[in-house]
Symmetry: D2
């Protein structure tokens, strides 16, 4: 039994991680903490009543190190990098759900997260936890940077075409729509019910901190520098992300051939499903699951490819993917706990 | 042209009041204020862009008194009673949308609002602004206590039966369901989108501060002491209240006769509609209007009467009723601005 | 491995049953059917893509009998009673999610469902599948009448007080609020998005077909004839039922004592949770689970008891309870597949 | 007083038209009809109770012609072209809210609406009722083709840049998100509450019938053939459309200059509001109003322009624009009834 700790249990990602792990046959959750709440976990999350006897306290690294083999950090960015060095030094495995270890350079982090990075050493060691692209590295990793929710849907949607047709891609526009839980559990006016319900809007237009993460891993994959235009919108649903991705091509591609290539690319993947031609992905088909569904469509001249990609932002976009990474790290069947 | 001021323009009731008055032919809004915001009203509420040039500042009683004839106070309770005495002294008319002047005794206020009342003198002078019951008093009033949203739906739903069958009423249970705007514009976790969406719950069970207000005015109307059991619930919609009211009777009543009595009671009322037998009220029929719709149903033995009553909590439950009161006070046709 | 058939796979209850059983270690789903759809199950429900290879056809009793040990009937009422006799005769175990076998007399069925009952013989044999009250009977049953969603929340909410204080109960009013999936998967104007969203209303006031089911089993439990007043409302959420139950008592009850009695009554139940005093149940705490959560509150004079009871209508109110019943029938641990 | 008829009163656009006109000082609604409903309008739409005494019957051209000066056709496409010829011949003014008279050629209609056009003669006479571009023609028109909801938001969002920078525009992608009322009042499974709520999806990708309408009027405006890529999505809200429009440019444009040009272009328009730099449009700012709000944003290299455009699909996208057109046709102040 792997002994697990979850730091940041009062947020939605922390709760989701716990709910998966409570039913996971190979682990035992030993430790949970949160910064602003202390008490029985049952009282903090009444939905857990009678399902756990865990007690939540402020984070204490000594206890965490003593009690756990592997820690999930479901905390806001800049918090992870304060906690991680000690855990790594103590030989623990760490799966970080924040944005702290996803970019490759401290300068990039500073530019997009507006804070100086405090742990450049581990930033270099961290493995980007997207199993479909980095499974072999994840297996050997001590520190996982669990991908952002937007990048997960974007990179999985684009990977095959980026890998095989990089030189034909002229531009990529990602029009993303995210459910509200993506913003975390917060008492903010902008995320209050009356402001979000029956509303819709774009935000951080061409300026979202997940953009460089998409650029970085698409560029690694394709071997060329790739830059996407990324525009997120706030969708009045609790969970789920749909991205409509417009790829402009310098010459046409055969739709049938690309479909075959997508299906082959993801053939052995347990959590990516490529829809048949003419069928469109929908949020509800992936909610409460770890799947990423992908559809392809083409303009009549085959020069514009429209990819739609959906995930549940709390699962494949956060907790589900984190557990998938843990399964890989510990050589457990990859979909354990995620069926 | 009546010169109007609105205190508390950054909340939903204040905004609703303004939106009605911007299209009201007999008034001119001269002054708006809010405690936590300063700036062009267009910037505070982008939906007002190009519709007003008003500027919002912190409340200043001298300016308010100088510029206005009549003030709407759309502020939290305990704030109104700090502002009102000066305005009353200066001869202004005041329509208070808070709970400060609705109860009849300072002791009751203290018990339910957990604050000492600071203005007992005007508490006595205030007229309860429910036009269907107090129209004559409203006409002559200087200070209006605009009814709470729950009491408006409850009292209008119950008034005819309470007035005519008081001695037969054994118990009254009000199961109320309110949209989220009833809680005001707040950055509170409990009203954040992810907590409210797809959720439903009761709160302040048998312990809500609107209970004594319902008791008080039903008792005045019926001439007997009446006590209701009141249980509110939070409904995942932005606006609207539906109350299901269970009246247990000591002997049966004729449904046909009661229906006739309800229709007669409200025959000349511009904003109360009694549904025909067998037809149930719905929130959507009153949203964005000043109507209160009422349905009646009976158990087979005619000893249980089930009244359903709906209003838009921001209109008949707040701003709409406030303007209706103003129209009455200034002898303007009662539905002006409210069609 | 128990060989399972699901009749009515195109509806929400059928799908929910399948989704539970696909992860259940002791069963294998061999057969699915629907009346209006034919094809790969993956195409009918794209969310099942890559999770099953089942093919759906019109119901054929010979095939069903040949391939299955146990059948779940997730069909509209009046359909079950056409199918059931043959299955019972062939020795199959049947769990019927419709209303066909819940009442005890054909005359009652006729009165509330407006159709003549075609299978009075099995109506007598059927066991009411509420494990908390009828576990021993369920173990030996061949035919289970899986309870209605409203009765499940109502009876579980009331059982302890009805069992222990029957002679003090003067009246019971149930104000129920149900999510839209309770109405099934239908192309009906009244359940279209624009009619339900941001709306709320009561329907079938004091006239819903689940009323006699509640009366029947409360009466059995208490040994006295009990009659409830039941008023359902349509809640703008996809799944979940909350019932606010008002019990008027002839003499007061001690809140502390009743709380203890409730906790003791459900002490060994895996799926009923009694909230602590002062804590209110919420839909979101039971959604996607098989729990029924119950809260208790009292009026100051302890003569009015307010019970709030919540379930997920598709799980504890339908598919989850059906699987719980199957587990009991086959002597499998009761929460298998339902954690 | 202009005598008005509304054909298709049982749908959302017909109802919206009526609700505007009931408060319009210059008109009187004399006649309403619907194909599938007959009865008092109050019974068909309970929200109109006590507001009108109109009676609804099946459409009868003789009565319509006798009683009305001007008719609004709020019917499905292919129905308008059956009704219109007679009305035009009788000298009536017609405002058609369907798609029947929006395209310029019968062949285009056939291609996109999959039906043969039956009234090519009036197709030529019809004026496209987008006041911001065709006000002078509308004034003299007898037959108005009221624009589609998607084209209204698209063309208004693009008009200034299309008019002034046509030769620099390399490609236009419109990612549109529409509330559900855009699909009309229909008992269709795909628009049932449980299918739409908490869901999101693209549909008719690059294949929607509003595409040629956008192309046609942008081309007229710019004097060059323009082709857009149009992808609509279904948004889980009742009303409102937001379009995110990506304009790729062959050389950079000055953001400040373009902003000035947009503001100037719409300076005298009563219903178009251009947001200041950095401010994003939101659905809620235009719901229940006739406004179209527009924001502009640029990529760092100023080669990608991102326009966001919002309207209420039932008002500026249908009934509101129809009344605006009527006001222009009858030389009434343009915002009468629409404030």
């Amino acid at each position: 039994m792997i002994k697990i700790g979850i730091v940041g249990i009062s947020g939605y990602s922390g709760l989701s991680t716990l709910e998966i792990l409570l039913n996971h046959p190979n682990v035992r959750v030993m430790y949970v903490s949160a910064n602003n709440t202390r008490g029985k976990l049952n009282d903090i999350w009444p939905r857990l009543k009678s399902r756990t006897k865990l007690f939540c306290d402020r984070y204490n690294s000594e206890i965490a190190i003593k009690e756990c083999d592997c820690l999930f950090l479901a905390v806001p960015h800049t918090v992870s990098m304060m906690i991680t060095p000690q855990l790594i030094k103590a030989g623990k495995r760490v799966i970080d759900l924040s944005g702290d270890y996803r970019l490759d350079r401290v300068s990039e982090f500073k530019r997009w997260y507006h804070s100086a990075h405090q742990d450049g050493r581990n930033l270099k060691k961290a493995v980007y936890g997207l199993p479909e692209l980095y499974r072999a590295d994840i297996q050997k990793a001590q520190l996982i940077a669990n991908p952002g929710c937007f990048p997960t849907a974007a990179i999985l949607g684009l990977a095959p075409v980026a890998a095989m047709y990089a030189d034909q891609i002229q531009s990529i526009i990602i029009d993303a729509k995210s459910g509200v839980s993506g913003a975390g559990k917060k008492a903010t006016l902008g995320f209050s019910y009356c402001e979000v319900n029956e509303n819709f809007k774009a935000y951080r237009v061409l300026n979202h901190q997940h953009t460089p993460e998409i650029d970085l891993y698409l560029s690694q994959l394709s071997g060329t520098k790739m830059t996407v235009h990324f525009v997120p919108h706030l969708l009045p649903v609790s969970r789920g992300i749909l991205e409509t991705i417009y790829v402009q091509l310098s010459s046409n591609i055969s739709p049938g051939k690309l479909m075959t290539q997508y299906k082959r690319f993801y053939k052995t993947e347990p959590f990516v499903r490529v829809m048949d031609a003419g069928q469109q992905v929908e949020l509800k088909n992936v909610q409460n699951s770890n799947y990423c569904d992908i559809s392809l469509a083409f303009s009549p001249d085959k020069r514009l490819l429209v990819i739609t990609s959906v995930i549940d932002n709390l699962l494949k976009g956060a907790a589900g993917q984190a557990v998938q990474n843990m399964n890989i790290m510990y050589d457990i069947e990859e979909n354990t706990g995620l069926k």
